[in-house]
């Protein structure tokens, strides 16, 4: 140790300091690209307040409600079909993508399929499907099925890769066939996680089903986009409120399904659990 150098309790962390400087420089540069000016901000505030005042009260007239119900119904139908189909396809694809169970020549095609499905946003995929099968719900279903495969199959494969090989070994040792090993040795280990992915995907599909209408793939998104373009902001507000309510109901349902399957809760237990002390309950209600 050099004799005179004083001891430093907190040595300067140069990589971190340089990192922060680079980040700050980037933020300045990137913000400049947005061409965000003071005038724009002021007129924005102005626009914003006008916009908000035109949103309220939301338009819930009889004709509007009819359009909302029709749009939401279609979104819901797209969600149901796409989720069931997507999950049904994700199971085998996810299984094929698990490196600990499958040979490489099965894994790589499955992984490529998943990577491609994951890379594109549902709305982009919807555009392609609109081109392939025309405007309407069919295109939306196709887009959401692709999205479901990208998410559920990927996480399912990862969950399978993390299972305990010992339990699988024991089932193999009984002379069970490959499918039986999967059913008794693999699936029980990943089932509750899979359920989590599947119900999450249901929620996610429900959200996206309300958006893909923007590119003509069915559901309430088309109505919403049209209302925006007509500056019909009170109708926009009504549609948004309805969408949020639908999504929250969806989340409650998927929480229930998760509890039903993974924890084998009975209805009474579920309600009992849903009624903890007051504070927790309030939080739980907000969380949906």
């Amino acid at each position: 140790m050099p004799a005179a150098s004083p001891r430093v309790a907190f040595p300067p962390n140069w990589p971190a300091r340089i990192g922060w400087l680079v980040l700050a420089a980037y933020v300045v540069w990137a913000t400049a690209q947005l061409d965000f000016t003071w005038e724009r901000f002021v007129s924005g505030i102005d626009n914003g307040s006008r916009f908000l005042s035109r949103m309220f009260p939301p338009a819930f007239g009889a004709d509007k409600v009819e359009m909302i119900v029709k749009g939401l119904t279609e979104s819901l139908q797209i969600t149901f079909i796409a989720t069931v189909l997507g999950i049904a396809l994700s199971l085998p694809i996810g299984l094929m993508a698990a490196r600990n169970l499958m040979p490489a020549w099965v894994v790589w095609p499955a992984r490529t399929l998943i990577a491609v499905s994951r890379s594109f946003h549902e709305v982009v995929v919807a555009i392609i499907f609109v081109k392939a099968v025309g405007f309407g719900a069919m295109a939306g279903i196709g887009a959401l099925v692709v999205g479901s495969i990208g998410f559920v199959a990927k996480l399912f494969a990862e969950a399978i890769e993390e299972i305990s090989p010992k339990q699988v070994e024991a089932v193999r040792a009984t002379g069970a066939s490959f499918m039986s090993v999967v059913l008794f040795g693999v699936l029980p280990q990943v089932f509750s996680r899979f359920l989590g992915f599947a119900t999450y995907q249901f929620d996610s599909n429900l959200r996206h089903s309300t958006m893909i209408g923007i590119v003509g793939a069915g559901g309430i998104g088309g109505t919403l986009f049209a209302a925006f373009q007509r500056f019909d902001y009170d109708f926009v507000c009504a549609i948004l409120i309805s969408i949020i309510v639908l999504i929250m109901i969806g989340e409650i349902i998927s929480n229930f399904v998760r509890a039903l399957f993974s924890e084998n809760l009975s209805v009474i237990e579920w309600f009992r659990r849903k009624a903890p002390e007051r504070r927790d309950k309030a939080v739980a209600v907000v969380e949906g």
């Binding site: 890379s119 081109k131 099968v133 069919m138 309300t210 504070r279």
Partner: protein, 271 residues
């Protein structure tokens, strides 16, 4: 072989589930089947379009190939940089909001339930509105362009980052915090020296994860006019230049894969 030592036990039934569980499960499957049947019946399926689909797809790919690679330098590159800026700035901006709201939502940090509920309400509200809707709202306020896109990404992400950050805070170990509180440290110091070191890796990891998602999301913002690579795609589609659309799609694919790899590598080093 004497596998059965002649037990006279009455025949015992073995059932996997209790009757109630079975009823609920049956009810669930019945509901799923009914919902799908109902959906299939009422949804507008135009068979002619379906028969046509393979041909349309073939036609589609033929128009896409060969790609108009010159389009990349002409429009896509600038739009791509804009997309990455939207995603990055949006994520950074989101963190500015998500940090305090997430803290407010953590019950161990803020032991005052109305604030917890308020914070959770904010988080749910921002998550429930889709990025594209946020984009449409901000376009209505600030006009089309990357600014609206950045704000849309930021606002949609607050709920996601804030929720996960709040949960990470709630899972923080009590020991170090009690030790600090016992020294009489002020609350801010307890947070900086007690909570923050525990949740910092989680916080950055959540932010990176969201950035990865935002790269994907910011690619579609352009379809509603909120800047980025989606604008280039929209322009090409309006002209039916599928060979240019193909360039955009290929670019998005490559960038998304790279972003995912980058995030995975950084997260591994963080944790």
């Amino acid at each position: 072989m004497s596998a059965q030592p002649g037990m006279a036990a009455a025949e015992r039934e073995w059932k996997r589930f209790t009757p109630e569980q079975r009823f609920l499960r049956f009810g669930f499957f019945f509901f799923v089947v009914a919902a799908v049947v109902w959906s299939l019946k009422t949804i507008q399926v135009i068979p002619e379009f379906l028969y046509d689909a393979p041909e349309q797809v073939k036609d589609f790919f033929e128009r896409m190939w060969p790609m108009d690679t010159a389009y990349y330098a002409k429009s896509v590159h600038a739009a791509l940089i804009e997309t990455l800026n939207i995603a990055t700035l949006g994520t950074l901006l989101c963190m500015v909001f998500a940090l305090p709201i997430g803290m407010m939502a953590a019950r161990n940090l803020v032991p005052f339930w109305p604030l917890n509920v308020f914070a959770k309400f904010l988080l749910v509200a921002t998550r429930s509105v889709n990025t594209l809707v946020w984009a449409l709202l901000f376009i209505a306020i600030f006009g089309p362009g990357a600014l609206a896109g950045t704000l849309a990404i930021a606002f949609r992400s607050i709920g996601f980052v804030g929720k996960l950050f709040g949960e990470a805070l709630e899972e923080a170990q009590k020991g170090p915090i009690e030790a600090l509180t016992a020294t009489g440290a002020p609350k801010a110091s307890v947070f900086i020296k007690g909570y923050w070191p525990q949740v910092m890796p989680a916080f950055w990891s959540i932010a990176l994860f969201r950035w990865d998602i935002n790269v994907r999301e910011s690619a579609v913002l352009g379809l509603v006019g909120a800047g980025g690579i989606g604008m280039a795609m929209d322009a090409a589609m309006n002209l039916f230049r599928w060979d240019q659309v193909a360039v955009v799609l290929a670019t998005v694919f490559v960038v998304v894969i790279i972003a995912e790899v980058v995030v995975t590598v950084i997260r591994k080093r963080l944790i």
